[in-house]
Amino acid sequence: MKQLYDRILAIRGSLITIRTKKAGLGELALVEKANGTSTLASVVRFDEDLASLQVFESTRGISTGDQVSFLGKSMTASFSGKLLGRRLSGKGDPIDDGPAIVGEEVEVGRPSFNPINRTVPKSQVRTNIPMIDVFNCLVKSQKIPIFSTAGEPYNELLMRIANQTDADVVIIGGMGLRFDDYQAFIDNADTSGSMQKTVMFIHKATDPLVECLLVPDMALAVAENFAREGKDVLVLLTDMSAFADAIKEIAITMDQIPSNRGYPGSLYSDLASRYEKAVEMSGSGSITLLSVTTMPGGDVTHPIPDNTGYITEGQFYLEGGRINPFGSLSRLKQQVIGKVTREDHNDLANTMIRLYADSKKANERKSMGFKLSKWDQKLLRFSGLFEENMMNLRVNISVEEALNLGWQLLSDCFLVSEIGMKKAFTDKYWPKEK
């Protein structure tokens, strides 16, 4: 028999408190408001016979006499193949004026895959962005954030990757999105024709905060089900800093003791339980997770990027509209470079980075007014060409083309004896004089 609770004892932030002895942690409840509408809430804490529930909407309009009833289940996402092409809110409700989603109810926030059911990833995800494909390959099942600051074109970068990837399904989780960003994601999917393989879970900046917390869980629960069906899924989460800030806000409302800059001590675990969903299942599909972390004040030691860096398998730095080759790192690139890609890949990439680093020093010498040697001038010429033809995010070429271009740039600027590469490679790939 369903039990109704008609007394809300306290309302604070997005939390309401009722007196009950029959509720489970994480259990969903329905709050029926006086104006006839209703909203969902889930149990987050007990204190003797008091239960605190997190309301999935604004608590505005809830009154102490509203009726609360428990549903006997925890948060679920509806999963079916019909999700493709749809846009949903953090709660899983359609926000594209389409019909309701009917499908299998899957629990969100399940434990991630046991290591013994995983395999070591070995295939490359092609993005056609040379700074990623050549220097820091994205590997299937990798979890990697883009460290950036507000104002950088990180969403544009995500869209490009979403358009060009060979993944079967793309799931976009937007947190704290401004309306124009949201619209840009829709327009992009429409124009590029990738809508039919895309699912969006969107929390706009004006939506209730709690939905922001649900977006990654929803997106990843759906991703997991697609992956179980043998699909290669790419999950794009933007922006994880909004997610971490939502955690902070809720934790402080719940009187949790803050540990670092107001974030709860569980920040690492909270982020990890989402990122660790990235997986290459043995004998089935995969989840690749690319996220955006905006660093407050560009500070990489801030708790959000810092904790993220310890969890993820590398990071891309997006600075000044370009992916910075210094600091960016893909921990899994050794799995594919030269094994899946061409043999000269590793040597060529390292040589270019080394010369580009040298050119930075030459640039310093130039700005300090030192006399430039011939070698310095060569380096400066190389750095100009490198920035224009490789680092520029508009460049859109396959990894093979990018490698050939790399050889071309080197031969334009240097003599074959100057770059110090293995002879076997220079013999084979050094462009011949015309």
């Binding site: 434990p111 991630s112 001590g265 690492y268 675990s269 990122y275 969903k277």
Partner: protein, 383 residues
């Protein structure tokens, strides 16, 4: 002594059976690569790996590669001597706090059997964070950076479980000893060592292998920073190695001061340019670079260089001694640079050759001949 096959550890910052060490470093500096190396090559009987709050992918790598690798001592699969406690970052926090104790208890069990055991905890910061998370939930009054006040004593109690024990004599057997080494990685927030977990760990461990971002960015692997790392086991190990190579400790100390001087000269050179440096200084700097690149650095992906057994280290260190104490002189800075760069390259290539193979012996002799010839020339010039 517990040899690891890493020259920078065995020579410069040696570890002993029954000792403790920690290796803090920012993300991307190679903490896990170092742990994997130690778990593969350390001269112990049993390795217990506690994957405490780290990536699942790293556990998968161990699970897939270790059964394929052969333990050089026993000829069995490496997995046969490995125990893994797995609590990856997405697993429950309460179990994370327990995981290091679980690992230690298992390690102690093997030690009681008279075996040499190595316990690697990757990473103790996650363990400390788990304590913080639980303490916060219990609404205990937070200490520094919200870690519980008992953090330091818990860390001390953990590392103090390492040590050598003498077992009771059993009938028909001689007195046996068992040992346990505890090594923990620390992942300090923002790579800053001035934080509670690193500081509490430093006051209780016997060796400190600091990994630095600058070194890993410069691709100088293993990225253990010789300028700030230290060990308390130098004398114990030194006195036993001196039987094989006289004046071992003296030269290790000399190497360290050479590195400090080299670093200082390099900084000076950035300001005043190479012309402003005296010949003596440039030679010191170049010698430190030879030691750095030819000795301390090791290529983990090269079959030969990844593991450098102790006898080979002794041979190479003997060569280094000659270079350190050599009285070189050159006409110009460029001459000195050319000479030492050549030397450096030769030694680097020597490291890639199989030990005591024909090629190796030839290459070594060639290097010794070059050194001898040059030093004799210098001597004549002086006379």
């Amino acid at each position: 002594m517990m040899d690891t096959g890493l020259r920078i550890i065995d020579t410069q910052f040696p570890l002993v059976k029954g000792g403790t060490f920690c290796s803090p470093g920012p993300f991307g500096a190679g903490k896990t690569v170092l742990q994997h190396h130690l778990s593969k090559y350390s001269s112990v009987d049993i390795v217990v790996i506690v994957a405490c709050g780290e990536r699942a992918g790293e556990v998968v790598e161990v699970l897939e590669t270790f059964p394929e690798l052969i333990d050089q001592k026993t000829g069995l699969s490496l997995m046969e001597r490995t125990v893994m406690i797995c609590n990856t970052s997405s697993m429950p926090v309460a179990a994370r706090e327990a995981s290091v104790y679980m690992g230690t208890s298992i390690a102690e069990y093997y030690r009681q059997m008279g075996l040499d055991v190595l316990l690697l905890a990757d990473s103790t910061s996650r363990w400390a964070q788990a304590m913080r998370e639980m303490s916060g939930r219990l609404e205990e009054i937070p200490g520094e950076e919200a870690f519980p006040a008992y953090l330091a004593s818990r860390i001390a109690a953990f590392y103090e479980r390492a040590g050598v024990i003498e077992l009771k004599e059993t009938a028909g057997e001689k007195k046996k000893t068992g040992s346990l080494v505890i090594g923990g990685t620390v992942s300090p927030a923002g790579g800053n060592f001035e934080e509670p977990v690193t500081q509490a760990t430093l006051s209780v461990v016997g060796a400190f292998l600091a990994l630095s971002r600058e070194r890993s960015d410069a691709r100088r692997y293993p990225a253990i920073d010789p300028l700030i790392s230290w060990t308390k086991y130098q004398e114990v190990v030194g006195s036993s190695l001196e039987k094989k190579l006289p004046q071992w400790t003296h030269f290790v100390q000399m190497a360290k001061s050479m590195l400090v001087a080299g670093d200082e000269i390099a900084k000076r050179m950035e300001v005043v340019g190479e012309e402003g440096i005296s010949m003596q200084d440039i030679i010191t700097y170049l010698k430190s670079e030879v030691y750095e690149i030819g000795y301390l650095q090791q290529n983990a992906f090269d079959k030969e260089d990844a593991f450098c057994p102790l006898p080979r280290q002794i041979d190479l260190f003997a060569l280094m001694q000659k270079i350190f104490s050599g009285d070189f002189s050159f006409k110009s800075h460029d001459d000195a640079r050319v000479f030492f760069l050549d030397l450096q390259n030769r030694i680097k290539n020597l490291n890639y050759l199989p030990y005591q193979s024909e090629k190796y012996t030839k290459a070594l002799e060639a290097i010794q001949a070059i050194l001898k010839e040059h030093l004799e020339q210098c001597l004549e010039a002086h006379v």
